[in-house]
């Protein structure tokens, strides 16, 4: 093993993150190389120093606020469920109530989807895998998610696939597929459908972005973009039909 290789693996070695075989090679190299051993000493000194970095504990008032929020949240939800159940038992009014709580959930996810969209553009983190080839993008998700998102290229419809990445939506890991329309990016967040509340198709406009939601083949889709609404509708249709 060369010093260059050892250096590359040194951090993972010290962190105990190398598999046994590679770790052994690094260990053997360290046995023969004083320069790399110095590097180890330096890293260990650094670790000890970083241990002295301040640990910021949550202030009491923050904890109190979060606890109060939890209580309020639970109370409101229970009240809504009770009211919905009661209304259901009595008459059709329950439908309205359930609809209301479902749409709050949809709004929350739509908001989140727009956040993720904006984040992906701002942080220059549009792709983890950049490819126009669906046969490259789809397998990339394998092992990274516990489901396999459908990946299709819509170049023939004027929406070429440009890549994909992992993202997080509604508190769950999701596949983000990125399509392009001229200079505009369209983010599509895909996850298995399992929330009754989000089963309904929805169209939203959030902070100037269009958000389309639909379910298809057991998967839930959220498409977000700044393209105009008719284009996003065309896109959603093309994707939904494929």
């Amino acid at each position: 093993m060369s010093c260059e290789q050892a250096e590359r693996d040194l951090d993972a070695y010290l962190d105990g993150e190398l598999d046994a075989g590679v770790a052994m090679t690094v260990r053997n190299h360290l046995g023969t190389c004083a320069a790399c051993r110095r590097h180890v000493v330096e890293r260990e000194a650094l670790s000890r120093l970083v241990e002295t970095a301040p640990y910021y504990s949550a202030p009491e008032r923050l904890r109190a606020r979060v606890v109060a929020q939890t209580t309020r949240f639970r109370f409101v939800r229970r009240a809504m469920m009770l009211a919905a159940a009661a209304a259901l038992a009595v008459s059709a009014g329950g439908g309205m109530m359930l609809l209301r709580s479902a749409s709050t959930f949809v709004d929350a996810i739509a908001d989140d989807a727009v956040d993720s969209h904006v984040r992906s553009l701002m942080a220059n983190h549009l792709f983890d895998v950049q490819s126009t080839d669906q046969h490259t993008v789809k397998p990339w998700f394998q092992g990274k998610l516990d489901f396999s998102p459908p990946v299709v290229d819509l170049a023939s419809n004027g929406f070429p696939l440009v890549g994909g990445r992992l993202d997080f939506l509604g508190g769950r890991p999701v596949a983000a597929l990125v399509y392009q329309r001229q200079k505009h990016a369209i983010n599509v967040f895909v996850s298995p459908e399992h929330d009754d509340a989000s089963a309904r198709a929805a169209v939203r406009s959030v902070r100037g972005f269009h958000v389309h939601h639909w379910t298809h083949g057991g998967m839930s889709f959220w498409a977000v973009s700044d393209v105009n609404d008719s284009e996003l509708t065309e896109f959603s249709r093309a994707l939904g039909a494929s």
């Binding site: 650094l46 970095a53 606890v67 939890t70 904006v118 769950r172």
Partner: protein, 172 residues
């Protein structure tokens, strides 16, 4: 799997969440806002959370909450979430004021860590202070494990240089 209540699963990690947020934001008030925002999101999504590792889950939400706040902020010139403008200063030397603090290791380490670009800072915090495995860090930061590895190596290299443990590498 019977679900634990939110308080039991998530609240024990409030300190960790705040610590992470504080290192991301470098500011007490903002860290509080981020964590509160994250907790609201976490509550909302808690019913769909079936993983065991509530701490890593909460980290992910804290990180998202922070990035969302940054993204919503009116854009100042070329501001990016990586606070590039601030962090791209030559970082091989600390201010005179910071130098005075050199006797004081805690302050020195804090200043040096805060000087690191956030991409490097967060992986070091998650690894060295929170003790997350590479795999967990990869999930929180949503990058491949190889990227975690190289960010850690480069981040530590820079930190060593800042703390004068080693000469600054010429590359990057």
């Amino acid at each position: 799997m019977p679900q634990r209540p939110f308080e039991e699963a998530v609240l024990p990690h409030l300190n960790a969440a705040f610590n992470y947020a504080r290192w991301l934001t470098k500011n007490d008030a903002e860290a509080e806002d981020v964590v509160q925002d994250a907790c609201v999101r976490a509550m909302r999504y808690f019913s769909s959370f079936h993983d065991d590792d509530a701490r890593a889950w909460l980290f992910t939400i804290v990180r998202n909450a922070w990035y969302s706040r940054v993204a919503r902020r009116p854009r100042v010139a070329d501001a990016t979430p990586f606070d590039g403008a601030r962090d791209d200063r030559r970082d091989d030397a600390l201010d005179p004021e910071e130098r005075l603090l050199q006797q004081h290791s805690v302050a020195l380490v804090r200043a040096a860590l805060e000087r690191l670009p956030v991409d490097f800072r967060e992986v070091i915090v998650l690894r060295e202070i929170e003790g997350l495995a590479y795999k967990e860090i990869a999930a929180v930061v949503r990058v491949p494990i190889g990227t975690v590895m190289s960010r850690l190596a480069r981040g530590r290299e820079r930190l060593s240089a800042l703390l004068k443990l080693a000469p600054m590498e010429t590359t990057r």
